[in-house]
């Protein structure tokens, strides 16, 4: 599904990813952990196609296609979704309008017909209910004045509406209370399916109790320095990054 080989990425003239290799099969959930500033968000932006994140070396193959050559919005239409660490505010644009615009943009790109206003409303309402996102929130301007937790829940709501093939969750668990965390995890688990893959970036082993990953990668200084099953998270929690990063060096 996703095959990253020897990826080097430069941001603002500085090399952040320095030969990262990672591969995810359909149906799998992988977790990425790693110290602050190790390049986790950078990786997520490169996969999503943010401008300013230049791939200087290496390859990213997504479902047999060269992801680098694909426009940002085309990646979205082809199923790449990034739940952002810091969701962005757009004043004056209601959440509902944004969801409708995004959904129909993706559909159009895939050659599907637009969903009418009523169709969108039904879909969004049903999904919002599952995730405890209030009707009132949908009427407010996108992310404007939302609490940290509300913003994260809205990201997951979008994920469940767009039903991506590759979902990247960048610290979606940060800032969530216990109930919200469970809800988000349920949302993620509900989307788990044999044709879908997920990449979950987190600092906390706690999330991985709810979303049990097939594999954990530890990212430090722009490279994967350790890999393992879910027990690796426990080891990290007990011993800290220094121990593992030190070992790898």
């Amino acid at each position: 599904m996703l095959d990253i080989k020897n990826l080097h990425v430069t941001v603002g003239g500085k090399e952040i990813l320095k030969g990262l290799t990672l591969s995810i099969q359909p149906g799998q959930v992988h977790a990425i952990m790693g110290p602050n500033g190790s390049g986790k968000s950078t990786l997520s932006f490169v996969l999503a196609g943010r401008s300013g994140y230049d791939v200087t070396e290496g390859s990213i193959i997504y479902n047999g296609e060269d992801l680098k050559a694909m426009a940002t919005e085309d990646r979205a239409a082809k199923g790449v979704f990034l739940a952002m660490q810091y969701p962005v505010e757009i004043p004056g644009v209601t959440t509902m309008t944004f969801l409708k615009t995004a959904l129909n943009s993706q559909r159009r790109k895939r050659g599907e017909s637009d969903l009418d206003a009523i169709g969108v409303l039904k879909l969004v309402r049903a999904k919002a209910k599952e995730l405890n996102v209030s009707e009132e929130m949908l009427k407010r301007a996108l992310n404007v004045g939302f609490s940290g937790g509300e913003k994260k829940r809205l990201e997951i709501l979008q994920m469940s509406i767009f039903e991506p093939k590759l979902a990247i969750l960048d610290e979606t668990d940060s800032g969530l209370d216990i109930d919200a965390l469970r809800l988000v995890a349920e949302g993620v688990n509900a989307l788990r399916s044999p044709e879908r893959a997920m990449l979950v970036i987190t600092h906390y082993q706690r999330l991985l109790d709810y979303i049990v990953p097939d594999r954990i990668h530890v990212l430090a200084k722009g490279r994967i320095v350790a890999e393992g099953g879910k027990e690796l998270a426990l080891e990290l929690e007990a011993k800290g990054y220094e121990h593992i990063v030190g070992q790898a060096a």
């Binding site: 401008s51 940002t72 979205a76 969701p87 962005v88 004056g92 993706q106």
Partner: protein, 485 residues
């Protein structure tokens, strides 16, 4: 539920493909005045319209006055000297006396209106919109007269009003914008060719939205319409004007005058969607739009509300204003001004508080992209007798890219210590992270810009009549296409 006319408007807007879809020229035989401007031109226009002597005298007085005036230079706009002798001041489709039904109108004209997306047909009746269309200099067809007649509302071409309602015209013409007001208004007074006249009698709520579409078709022609709207006591009227012009390499002059009069407890809502040709990416061609619009809240508790969406023109010089003469009268100005490429916009409003307890509200949204310059220029003036006057002004500027400019020039004069004036101003940019967020969710760049800008303008768009809000939103998007590289 959407009416057929709304659906039609939406469908037509959806078809917009080209950046300036109105840039076509209709090939119709024209009746033109000789080129240039002289007393002869003024007499020619007046004669063409079979005007009474008093109207001709009024025009001639304006023309003589104009000869002694100088073009204003204080606005933040730059353009080469206009050669007023190098233009035509009258152009009318040949053999086109006023039509009683649409079937009589030249099919080519109707086709033009269709291309413009003007639903000038029976469907419009369902939406409750009456349309007066001004093609170059003359009014071509006025629809839905009967329904308006029943209500006692007069809605007709200006030339018809001079003929059929001379007393009303004499009583109100030039009382809000005096002949001597400013260079362009004086020029308009001398050579105005047609326009719209509206009179809403006492206690009448106009049964439909009134609407005029202006189009400049002929080349090297100036357009000088004159609009006069009078809302008698306790009446209400909502009026919308739309403007387009074909693509041409030379600049064309548009100098209109709009006068509004609201008597006791009357309300006038005046909306404009202005999409004159803005010139090409290199600043060649486009309309010079020098317009004087003013409303007089003459009666107590009267209200005048201006809403404008300005996306077109090479140069916009326009300050729709309110004279708050009646006690408790209210003036509002809601504006979206978009300037892209080499467009220059210098626009704003004047709120003149004369009466006690008068209130005004100004919401201005300026968007600049490309190499454009966008200036908000506003005056809030509180006179000595205007005790407890209130003004709230909010000026927001949005910049797209690094080569454009936004300027805010608010003037405030207060001669009454009880007045309360609030002014807020912000300047922001479309942030890269906002664009990325939209792209990541599958929204293409141009659509993302349109979405973000429409969000920025929301408070103003909400003021537009429903049927036109959709059109205006699309226009906002189209006029900014390709503005983010």
């Amino acid at each position: 539920m959407s009416s057929p006319a709304q659906l039609e408007t939406k469908a037509q807007v959806a078809e917009i493909g080209d950046k300036y879809k109105y840039g076509f020229v209709t090939d119709i035989e024209m009746d033109m005045a000789p080129k240039g401007l002289s007393e002869e031109t003024v007499r020619f226009i007046s004669a063409k319209k079979n005007e009474p002597e008093w109207m001709l005298e009024w025009r001639l007085a304006a023309f003589r006055r104009w000869l002694s005036m100088k073009e204003p230079k204080w606005a933040r706009v730059h353009y080469p000297q206009i050669d007023f002798q190098d233009a035509y001041y009258y152009a009318a489709p040949k053999n086109n006396p006023l039509k009683q039904s649409l079937n009589e109108v030249d099919p080519k004209l109707l086709e033009t209106y269709n291309k413009l997306g003007i639903p000038l047909n029976e469907q419009m009746a369902l939406a409750g919109v009456a349309v007066d269309a001004v093609f170059d200099s003359v009014s071509v067809a006025t629809t839905f007269k009967e329904k308006l007649n029943e209500a006692g509302v007069i809605f007709c071409p200006f030339s018809e009003a001079i003929r059929d309602h001379p007393d009303l015209v004499k009583k109100y013409l030039g009382t809000v914008v005096p002949v001597t007001d400013n260079y362009y208004a004086t020029l308009n007074s001398a050579v105005f060719s047609d326009g719209t006249f509206v009179f809403v009698p006492k206690g009448v709520r106009c049964p439909m939205e009134l609407s005029t579409y202006f189009r400049i078709n002929a080349s090297e022609t100036g357009q000088f319409e004159r609009t006069l709207i009078i809302a008698d006591a306790d009446s209400f009227v909502s009026y919308l004007e739309g403007c387009t012009a074909p693509k041409r390499d030379e600049n064309q002059l548009h100098a209109a005058v709009v006068e509004l009069v609201a008597l006791d407890h009357a309300e006038i809502k005046y909306s404009t969607v202005q999409n004159w040709y803005p010139g090409d990416e290199n600043g060649k061609g486009g309309i010079y739009n020098f317009v004087t619009k003013r409303g007089d809240c003459r009666g107590d508790h009267s209200k005048i509300s201006w809403t404008q969406v300005e996306t077109g023109s090479a140069i916009t010089w326009k300050y729709p204003s309110c004279i708050l003469r009646g006690d408790h009268s209210v003036g509002e100005f809601y504006s979206i001004a978009i300037a892209n490429n080499y467009q220059q916009a210098d626009t704003g409003t004047k709120m003149i508080h004369l009466g006690a307890n008068t209130k005004s509200r100004i919401i201005s949204k300026g968007i600049s992209a490309g190499k454009a310059q966008n200036t908000y220029r506003g005056l809030v003036s509180i006179y000595g007798k205007a005790k407890n006057a209130r003004n709230y002004t909010q000026c927001d500027s949005l910049l797209i890219g690094g080569n454009c400019g936004a300027h805010t020039v608010p003037y405030i004069e207060s001669r009454n210590p009880t007045a309360r004036i609030e002014h807020e101003a912000t300047t922001s940019k479309i942030a890269e992270d906002q664009l990325f967020y939209c792209l990541q969710r599958g929204i293409p760049q141009d659509e993302a810009v349109s979405l973000i800008v429409n969000g920025f303008c929301k408070e103003v768009l909400q003021q537009l009549p429903m049927e036109f809000a959709v059109e205006a939103q699309k226009l906002v998007g189209i006029s900014l296409e390709g503005s983010v590289g």
